[in-house]
């Protein structure tokens, strides 16, 4: 049943959000700490376990894969509700501080990636949710 996959995803999402909130309270931060990341790790582990025990059917996989493919449309909708007006009104402080941070961070990413090991292993490119890259 396709709903099993979606329900599994939802359960991981909710549990991750809950643990993230608890983590935030535990370290005294008014925010969710890593809820999405925890949910992702849960989903990866559950998938691994279910595969090993032969519980993962194609339909169940599809119930998750659909949402992972909906990712880009959701991000487009997210972009469409940014407060672009406020961003432009912020004036020079906002623009300079943001631009400088982005460029400095981009430089650091470039540095780390050049210094790091070059990995010829391309197996990660095998995606489970297939969609043509137009």
């Amino acid at each position: 049943m396709i709903i099993y996959g979606t329900a599994l995803l939802a359960a991981c999402h909710l549990l991750g959000a809950y643990i993230g909130d608890l983590l935030g309270i535990a370290i005294g931060v008014k925010a969710n700490v890593g809820g999405v990341g925890i949910a992702m790790i849960l989903l990866i582990s559950v998938r691994h376990w279910m595969r090993q025990h032969g519980l993962m059917t194609q339909m169940t996989e599809d119930g998750v894969a659909f949402w992972s493919l909906m990712y880009i449309p959701v991000v487009v909708a997210m972009a469409a509700q940014q407060n672009v007006m406020a961003a432009l009104r912020g004036g020079p402080v906002a623009v300079i501080a943001a631009l400088g941070s982005v460029l400095l961070c981009a430089g650091t990413v470039a540095l780390i990636n050049r210094l790091g090991p070059q990995d010829p292993d391309e197996s990660w490119k095998e995606s489970t949710a297939k969609e043509s890259h137009a």
């Binding site: 931060v29 992702m40 991000v75 972009a79 469409a80 007006m85 981009a106 650091t108 990660w124 137009a134």
Partner: protein
Amino acid sequence: MHELQNALTSNSLIFAFAFIGLIVYISGKLSRYLTMGRVHGSAIAILIGLGLAYWGGLETGGTKGLSDVKIFGGIGLMGGAMMRDFAIVATAFEVNVIEARKAGLIGVVSLFLGTLIPFVFGASVAYSMGYTSAIDMTTIGAGAVTYIVGPVTGAAIGASSDIMALSIATGVVKAIMVMVFTPMLARFMGLNSPRSAMVFGGLAGTVSGVSAGLAATDRRLVPYGALVATFHTGLGCLMGPSVLYLAVKALVG
């Protein structure tokens, strides 16, 4: 006309699916025929989204871009934090665990650098522009980390509302710049592997910026970047009102 508006408003989420689908379709065509595939369709779609958000803000004076326009209310649900996180979690299904584990340590290092570098730079810009109190510098610096870290930090240390607004604006500008610049700078940054995406996720911070930026670069890199970036806001909220504020206070008094 009125009936049509009614139908769209009372089915706003469904209308959002159709509308976003149309944007993605148009973007794909523009990518193929206008840029010969050089600019990723997703990047164009995100730019169109931002353009529409600007129009929405202009039209309504609200803070939620296009979704403040009545018939586009569903965009707010479709692209809100709930659906965004749901879709991000789903991408974990494609994570190659071995790759993710290999980059664990460098991911953590990137997270700390991704908090420190924007904070120090943002606070310095604030100082040079005349915001010389420790509270103002910390709040604006925290805004340069992400637009959530900014107000959370500001609220914790008692910043004024105009400084909070400036801090949020800094974070939003940053998120938008990450969305727009990532595909352009992808080659320079060496974004071509899970490890590099995790480094990027830690340094660029802002989940919205990282997720949109990577989506426009290579969809398969999204889960790796998001996996790290999701800890960014938490770390920033932890360090902003505590260590970072105390450090600034010690420096400027």
